[in-house]
């Protein structure tokens, strides 16, 4: 039994060390991290990260429930970790503060599709193209991303005329004559979340690159 006690203590020590180092200590180290309060060049105060709108929060739940994280990461690695910045997936690397309000975190570990950390930013001033959710191949011919037609309602065009937000679909994707495809609330929520994915905010630990005259040309 003596042998057993030694063995048990040894195992306990090894486990405790790993638990302390990988669970307890990071918790202590990262606990003081808080929302950043700063002032931009124009002298206006800003804070980051910000809570999402209610619609985007609901959209995030849909993102989680559909398991989009299986193919899409949400993290931009620094130049020494990969070529994410060169690909234009972000203007600066991702840092711990970016995820302060994210639960459950959707960092992701597989890139069958593009990184989405700054997807909303890549859209620019455009609204999210909803047809992309209905079928990604409407916009990207060869995409292997799955269509999500269950976020849309296919219905007969009403007597009052086609719905204002009916999708404009052509060719193989066009609905039958007299039919239209209308986004449901869920589609708007998910779109709102995807549009909210923007992290290009100046932080002391992750400054934005200075765009010089030469570089911008």
């Amino acid at each position: 039994m003596k042998h057993g006690a030694v063995l048990f203590c040894g195992i306990l020590t090894a486990f405790s060390a790993s638990w302390w180092g990988m669970v307890a200590y990071p918790q202590r180290q990262l606990a003081p991290l808080s929302v950043y309060q700063g002032t931009n060049e124009a002298g206006n105060a800003y804070q980051y990260p910000n809570a999402r709108s209610g619609q985007a929060v609901q959209g995030r739940q849909i993102y989680v429930s559909l398991g989009c994280v299986a193919c899409h990461t949400q993290q931009v690695r620094p130049t020494e970790g990969g070529n994410d910045l060169a690909r234009g997936w972000g203007r600066r690397r991702s840092v711990a503060r970016d995820y302060l309000l994210e639960t459950p975190i959707q960092l992701g570990d597989s890139r069958l599709g593009p990184d989405l950390a700054n997807y909303g930013e890549r859209l620019g001033t455009n609204a999210f193209p909803l047809a992309r959710l209905f079928n990604p191949r409407v916009l990207v011919t060869n995409s292997i991303c799955q269509p999500l037609p269950f976020l849309f309602e296919s219905r007969a065009i009403r007597s009052s005329g086609p719905a204002a937000d009916a999708l404009v679909l052509q060719g193989a994707f066009a609905p039958k004559a007299g039919q239209e495809v209308v986004p449901t609330l869920t589609a708007y929520q998910l779109a709102s979340y995807l549009k909210s994915l923007q992290t290009s905010v100046e932080l002391p630990e992750a400054p934005l690159p200075v765009v010089t005259e030469e570089a911008s040309k």
Binding site: F15, M22, L30, A70, P104, I105, S110, L112, P147, F150
Partner: protein, 478 residues
Amino acid sequence: MSSGTTTSVRGEPYEVRSGGPVLFLLASGLLWLLVGLVLSLLTGIKLQFPSFGSEFAFLSYGRLQSAAGCALVYGFASQVGLGLSLWLLARLGGRVLPGGGLAGIAAAFWNVAISIGIPGILAGQGTGLRWLELPRESVVVLFLAYLILAILGTRLLFQRSNGRISASQAWLLVALFWFPWIFSTAQVALVFVPVRGVLQAIMGGWYTQALFLGWLTSIALALLYALLPELSGKVAAHSRYAGFGFWSWLLFSGWTAGSSLVGGPVPAWIPTLAVASGVLLLIPTVLISLSLHSGARLRTLFSSPALFLATASGISFTVFGVLTALTSFRCAREVLQFTQFFVGLNELVLFGFVGFALFAGIYVAVPRILGVPLRHSILSVLHVAGTIAGVGLAVASLLVGGWFQGWALQNGTDSVTVARHLQPWLCLNFLGILLFLGSQLALLAHLLTAVVTFLLPFGKPVLAWVLSPTSATGSKSS
């Protein structure tokens, strides 16, 4: 016990009397393996034909992938692993599993938990955290079921009739204590009272590593240390290596958690530590491999399916350890991070190393418990050949395809082109999994013959009684 004929030897009384719950865990574990593989195949179809079943939310790629992963890890590997652990503890300790009825109930509840959990994930109730997707309500049931089985197993260990603890028992002790620790920590800190931000990613990485390198690895190594010397008829020559390997594995494996976070938004020391411990993991890999393979002889390798599978499992372990060490370096991580390479490595552990060891355990345990020999037949040849070829193809295609994917991503090729070029490799992976699934049908048929042989003596009088109800009382003679 001579080699080859081991599978036809009737087990000791304590094995037979502990057998009910064990057989139940093995049988239901194998059924979950089939479910998990079918779900995996569906994800494979989705990757070739994204529109497949897209009208249904439950056939979303993400949900199918999570459900497949949970079915394979908790339904198959953990469950069969638990069953074989109890059998091994009873056998090595020379004691009957206490509370057989209680163990049976716990085993049933384990299955209830997974039966709630998998449909829950498909319905969109998953937690969205890798390997922790099972919904809350099923997790509680699963954990309670585990605790009962683990307490019964630990009692077997501490009430063993012989003094010294063998290498196999030491690994089982690690497994039984490590799983509740990591599972409860991860569930509390990530699901029930979530910690903030990237801490979730760090703890999630810790859980994943501990799940594969701690829990599942310990069970598989325990099986190999118990089975290999017995099946090959050779005592391992380097038993000292086994001890050093044990402690160094325990020391280093717990610190590799940050390997999936290289370049990620976490404090830099976490991935750095992971790189260092990933490389150091080479030491226990070599030591354990030496102690496992020292008894291997090519002549005896084909004498029984169990020996062949156990050897293949040991080789998978070595390959996995070496690949983990090599891919720990930053230059490799830069290219391979986020690719299918690591999916392939996971399949190598789950199907190759752990899966093969569990199958070897099944080939030895079932005949001993039932007291019916499992003859080396065409079915076992089909199973072993199909399993090894299928897993080999599935893993190799992802390891190679992952490299190409990584290079293309690093060169700045656009995501769609990268994915299109990856598709042939994913197709090969699909075929590998299909072969793996098909060969399991041979195993089930084989086990079924053993069960029928076992039931035949009981069935005869019943059958005779059914066929001639009028002479029911005299049916004994017929």
